[in-house]
């Protein structure tokens, strides 16, 4: 989780990602951020997130993003 928050803070230092909700609908993360994010996640956690999973719901908060990563990791075990 901490690694993820770090990645997010790199993108937007001005946002507190531990509390922020509605990251996509609230306009904090735009499509560029999301694409940068998934490549960072790929780098950091070695999971591939597919285009179909790039929904506002999955990227609503740090928690939902982490849940997505975790589900991916579990799936691979």
């Amino acid at each position: 989780m901490n690694e993820l928050i770090e990645i997010l803070s790199d993108l937007h230092p001005e946002v507190d990602f531990t509390t922020a909700k509605d990251l996509v609908t609230g306009g904090i993360l735009d499509s560029f951020d999301i694409v940068s994010l998934i490549s960072e996640i790929n780098e950091e956690f070695d999971v591939t997130i597919s285009a179909a999973e790039l929904t506002p719901e999955n990227f609503a908060s740090a928690e939902t993003i982490y849940a997505l990563i975790k589900a991916k990791l579990d799936d691979e075990d």
Binding site: I38, S39, E43, T48, S50, A51
Partner: protein
């Protein structure tokens, strides 16, 4: 059938009355018939194209959906018997099967779009290459019909196919319901590009006559006609005059032309969408909004989130994300990070994906180099502003202007100026001329060009400009009010005489000051051809 023709209004009236006279169960079927009738009246040959897209997409989506379902059942039953590796293999095999169907349908439909829209563009490019080698252009152009709205309904259908393929929702089982989704007549000609998940919510429902819904729909239609007839079709005359004589109208006039075009395009396109959404609304159907006061955007990225929204999100969801999340991009990202360092390397995939998206967006708008350069121009501007972000952050930490009215105004004006400059590609004959005219703004503008006679010679009288100007003020005022919620709701809350004056005034203003009827060539909605 133009939105601004008596035929369309007559057609609407008949459809509207029938729609509410019919029993609710029959309403959506009737809309399908009406939509096909609408398309048939434009050109009977178009029907073949839309029917092919409808049938192929319906079948492919249904096949994929059925396969998914039966696989899920089978998988649940046999899950426990299998090893992890076996399970993975089974899933991969299923996925590959679905992918075959998906790709066949996708390529087939995009192929139709490509052939009808881009064959002659390709031929002309081949000819100029041949010409460059000293031969005469040898290939002759093909006389192809471009079905009305093909770009819109193809994109809408493919969005649906991709969503089904990704398992977002099950395929529509009823082929006729799906046919209505593809052909729904108010949005057939110029969008918006609806998502199945949105439009299907209200499209197939039964709708009882509800006075508030209907009157709100009619108000929206009237507002659309006001924008289209009073503003867009009037200023159009000057725009065309300026574009037609680049030798006469350069320098400041080219700038004025770009500004007039910004106004015309906005009034025309948003007016057309207002009519579309309003027509759907009178029948209780909710069509997604396509604009959110785009000219109040603070930067180009925001502008593209607020202008032609359904197209922007389509390109983001179905092109930008799939490309940038693809295996290839992930690998490229790793490689470029290794080679170029983290900071620069991570940019490569985003930039490459953006480049592809903007190239596609450009060519989607029209089969010409003008649109391609226009699309890439947007790409360049967006990348520059992306790169300037650290600078802005630094700037704002030093100079406290962020959030002030003056700074916002500066941002808004900057955005409008940049977008209007890019749109000059949309106006002039070819790319070199566009650059020349853009350059002339800086080299040939002079105060002597600022004379009323020159503007009168563009085919509009001073009172025409006055009407356009007042119309523009109304647009701005409405947009400002709209920031705090629906203008129609606000008017509806007022006393009866106020409501009457507002709507009757709008109606009479359109009727009297609209640039329609004999003497005005019925200009097509600008987005028709796309």
């Amino acid at each position: 059938m133009l939105f601004t023709s008596y035929e369309f209004l007559g057609f609407l009236l008949v459809v509207f009355i029938m729609y509410y006279l019919l029993p609710g169960r029959a309403q959506w079927s009737f809309l399908l018939i009406a939509s096909y009738a609408f398309y048939f009246m434009a050109d009977p040959r178009y029907l073949i194209f839309i029917a092919i897209t409808t049938v192929s997409t319906y079948l492919a989506a249904k096949a994929i959906s059925d396969k998914k379902q039966s696989f899920d059942i089978w998988f649940k039953e046999h899950k426990k018997e299998m090893e992890k590796e076996e399970r993975k293999a089974a899933k991969a095999k299923e996925h590959a099967n679905e992918k075959k169907i998906f790709l066949c349908c996708l390529l087939f439909n995009l192929g139709i779009l490509a052939v009808t829209k881009y064959t002659n563009f390709t031929i002309s490019n081949i000819n100029s290459i041949i010409g460059a080698f000293g031969n005469q252009g040898t290939l002759s152009f093909v006389d192809l019909i471009i079905p009305m709205g093909i770009s819109f309904y193809t994109f809408q259908s493919m969005g649906y196919l991709i969503d089904v393929y990704n398992g977002k929702f099950e395929a529509q089982k009823n082929p006729f319901k799906f046919a209505l989704f593809v052909s729904f007549f108010p949005q057939l000609v110029q969008g918006p590009i609806s998502r199945y998940a949105d439009l299907s919510q209200t499209l197939f429902e039964e709708h009882r006559f509800d006075w508030k819904t209907v009157s709100f729909g009619l108000e929206r239609i009237m507002w659309g006609f006001f924008k289209k007839l009073v503003i867009a079709d009037r200023i159009l005359v000057a725009v065309q005059a300026i574009i037609a004589s680049p030798d006469t109208y350069n320098g400041f006039y080219a700038f004025a032309g770009a500004m007039f075009y910004a106004l015309e395009l906005y009034a025309d396109f948003t007016g057309g969408i207002d009519i579309t959404i309003g027509v759907a609304e009178t029948m209780g159907i909710k069509v997604t909004e396509n604009f959110r006061r785009p000219y109040f955007s603070k930067n180009i990225k925001e502008y593209w989130n607020r202008w032609h929204i359904t197209m922007g999100t389509w390109f983001t969801d179905y092109i930008f994300y799939p490309i940038s999340a693809s295996q290839f991009m992930m690998k490229l990202s790793k490689k470029s990070r290794a080679r170029l360092g983290n900071n620069l390397g991570k940019r490569v995939p985003v930039y490459l994906s953006s480049f592809i998206v903007w190239f596609t967006t450009g060519i989607w708008h029209g089969a010409s180099w003008n649109f391609i350069v226009w699309g890439l121009g947007n790409f360049v501007v967006i990348m520059i502003s992306q790169e300037l972000e650290p600078f802005y952050r630094w700037f704002h930490s030093k100079v406290k202007v962020d959030g002030t009215f003056g700074w916002k105004l500066f941002q808004i004006i900057r955005t409008v100026l940049i977008m209007s400059s890019l749109r000059m590609f949309d106006c002039y004959r070819d790319v070199p001329l566009t650059f020349k005219m853009f350059g002339s703004i800086f080299t040939k503008s002079s105060l002597s060009q600022l004379n009323a006679d020159a503007f009168i010679s563009m085919g509009l009288e001073s009172y025409d400009y006055a009407v356009v100007f007042i119309g523009m003020l109304v647009l701005v005022a409405v947009s400002l009010v709209q920031r705090s919620g629906s203008v129609r709701e606000k008017i509806a809350a007022k006393a009866a005489p106020v409501r009457f004056i507002a709507w009757y005034g709008l109606f009479m203003a359109t009727l009297i000051f609209g640039a329609y009827g004999i003497g005005y060539s019925a200009s097509q909605f600008i987005y028709n051809q796309f």
